[in-house]
Amino acid sequence: MALLIKNAIIVNSDKVWEKVQDILCENGKITKIAPSIDAKGHEVLDAKGKKVLPGLIDIHVHLRQPGQEGKETIETGSQAAVKGGFTTIMCMPNTNPVIDNPMTVEYIIREASRVGLCSVYPIGAITKAQKDEELSDMAELKSAGCFAFSDDGKSVLSSRLFRLAMEYAKMLDVLIIEHCQDPLLTSGGVMNEGAVSTRVGLKGDPGIAETVTVARDIEIAHYLDAKVHLAHMSLKRSCELIRQAKAQGIKVTAEACPHHFALTDEACASFDTSTKVNPPLRSQEDVDAIKAAIADGTIDCIVTDHAPHTKEDKEVGFDGAPFGLIGLETSLGLTIKELVKPGIIDLAQMVDKMSTTPAKIVGLKTKGVIKEGFDADLTIIDENKEWTVTKEGFVSKSKNSPFIGWKLCGEVQHTIYNGRIVYKI
């Protein structure tokens, strides 16, 4: 049966449609958009007064399966995704085993399709077992279904190997996503190095660990005329380097996470281990710069870096706790609260950052726009609805969020994936 969405205020990245439309979804595609479509024979969803966005796309998620199912599974991660309005997520390869072989790729795709809530695309490892020693069999992984590669969780430290990866990826027309953080500079830091880390006596991770890698990667991209996508940018200096590179025509794209524009390193002074994240929460100056970079297009897209960890993993003190926080269910609410409501970006720009541009960056040609012929992936939101984040409210298997107790703005009402309602509030 077809799904008909009535009275939709469509928000695409180019504009918010002035007149309400009906959207007909058939066989997983948007087949018709018109001011009025006959409801006869269709399942009808009335979106009156709500905004209808192209399904949100998060190209940076950790689903933990296979290997760490205590933290998250493809099923619980998919549930968290659609609750947060995401219809497409891409999962990082730091699983166990690492996504560096076609069997693991196929397993994830098969399991995601059994769950059937959203599209899940595995990101392949750049190096075998993410050991920073040899390139993974990227062509084989590509035929199994990977179109982006990353050693996320850490940088490819060997600059030579990274150069080779970029050359190889260019040949295969796949994307390299780099986690920019030089571990020799980070040297065991657990939070941003600065006045706050000094005050609370936690080991600092200096921003230069990120920026020197950003600079290196930009140089390699320039040298090879190859694309590189820089993950979770957290610093003013990174934004400046990227802005300059883009102005010179270097093929660099970049992402930022809501926690890097909603929180500063002051949050770590509570010793709440859900504020321990990589890269770390930074200074107010950096937060302001990230917001400005999102607004001016230096930062291309918003991702969550959803990184679930159990209570037991996290409850071992700040030094010992693993890095990461969950983000799928709070991303939209934080983005509207921190960026849209204060007027830093508008709703159309938000759609651009959270759907249209991420689709373009990774090469999803039928996603990211509400348009006839495109995938019937839609997110219906009430952008003015305020809600409070609670621990019990999370459907993710892990609850490691620093935003518990926060009042957010903008709530997902329905998520439609492949022409089916996969989530309703």
């Binding site: 006045a195 000094t198 609370v200 200096p206 010793f271 700040f318």
Partner: protein
């Protein structure tokens, strides 16, 4: 004023008045340790556990003696990392001890902030005996006690803290305490061991030891861990000593009333020469003596016994 805190986690959260109250209370307790019978019944029937996840001799013994001189029962637990079975969290360990009905837990842990985890998860009092690089409140209290004894005041004193500021919880606690009480604090040490943004804690930075000694009423030399050199923070211990070690010649640059302090244990020949450590300007052993009095005061206050105590 009345003491209201159940825990002592750091100096950061204390007011000037609270610090002064501890120091005053310690003054009365100091006399107890000079008696023939070094014991008062203030904490009779209370159980104080020292739970140390890092090696320590003097702090642990100081706390143990303090508790014993207040008639508390004491139990010392040293947990080495290897014996902490994987999977048991810090809080689990502490909760198991607390389940045996202890009244106060004196904790040292290598991770900054761990006393907060315990204070949130336990019902007993938690006293921080050093957490990571964050705070070592009783050390700062005994340093302030010693300064007050020597100079009669803290306000307006010029105090230098010398050495590995980056890794020092003693430095941080002293900075909080001394600045709250109106001292002027200068930190001095190698730039590689000077934490970023330290001046935002209200201190001046100076890399010239001679100038610092000339301008100071007291200098707190910090212990330099040998591992710092292994971690390449320093070219060599020799060079460290040359720039930041205090010997008699450098000490002579300062006022003859300048006092030299050290939280111990000292690396003789590195941060202090033997003649300085043992010299007449050194108050290192007095600090150790005062440590017991200050810890008695802290235990007494946080355990909040309401009974009248004849001291």
């Amino acid at each position: 004023m009345e003491w209201k805190r159940k825990h002592l986690l750091g100096i950061e959260e204390l007011s000037k008045e609270e610090i002064e109250l501890i120091l005053e209370t310690a003054t009365s307790f100091k006399e107890v340790s000079t008696r023939d019978i070094k014991k008062v019944p203030a904490l009779r029937g209370k159980t104080v556990v020292t739970l140390f996840f890092e090696a320590s001799t003097r702090t642990r013994i100081s706390f143990e003696l303090a508790a014993k001189r207040l008639s508390a029962d004491t139990l010392n637990i040293a947990v080495t990392t290897s014996s902490t079975s994987k999977g048991e969290t810090l809080l689990d360990t502490a909760k198991n001890i607390e389940a045996m009905n202890v009244d106060a837990m004196v904790v040292r842990h290598g991770s900054s902030g761990s006393p907060f985890i315990l204070a949130q998860g336990l019902n007993c009092s938690v006293i921080n005996a050093g957490d990571g690089c964050r705070e070592h409140p009783t050390q700062a209290l005994l340093d302030m006690f010693t300064l007050k004894e020597k100079f009669g005041r803290i306000e307006g004193l010029k105090v230098a803290i010398l050495g590995d500021i980056l890794h020092s919880r003693v430095a941080r606690s002293n900075i909080w305490g001394l600045t709250k009480l109106g001292a002027k604090v200068t930190v001095c040490g190698p730039a590689t061991l000077m934490p970023r943004g330290i001046e935002q804690m209200g201190v001046a930075i100076d890399y010239d030891l001679k100038r610092v000694l000339k301008a100071s009423d007291a200098v707190i030399a910090l212990r330099l861990q040998k591992e710092r050199q292994e971690a390449k923070f320093l070219p060599s211990l020799r060079e460290y000593s040359r720039l930041f070690g205090i010997n008699q010649a450098k000490l002579a640059e300062g006022s003859s009333s300048l006092i030299v302090m050290h939280p111990g244990p000292t690396n003789r020949g590195v941060e202090l020469s033997a003649e300085v450590a043992d010299g007449k300007q050194s108050v290192i052993l007095e600090q150790v003596t005062n440590g017991v009095a200050v810890r008695m005061a802290v235990l007494y206050l946080v355990l909040g016994t309401k009974e009248e105590v004849a001291i």
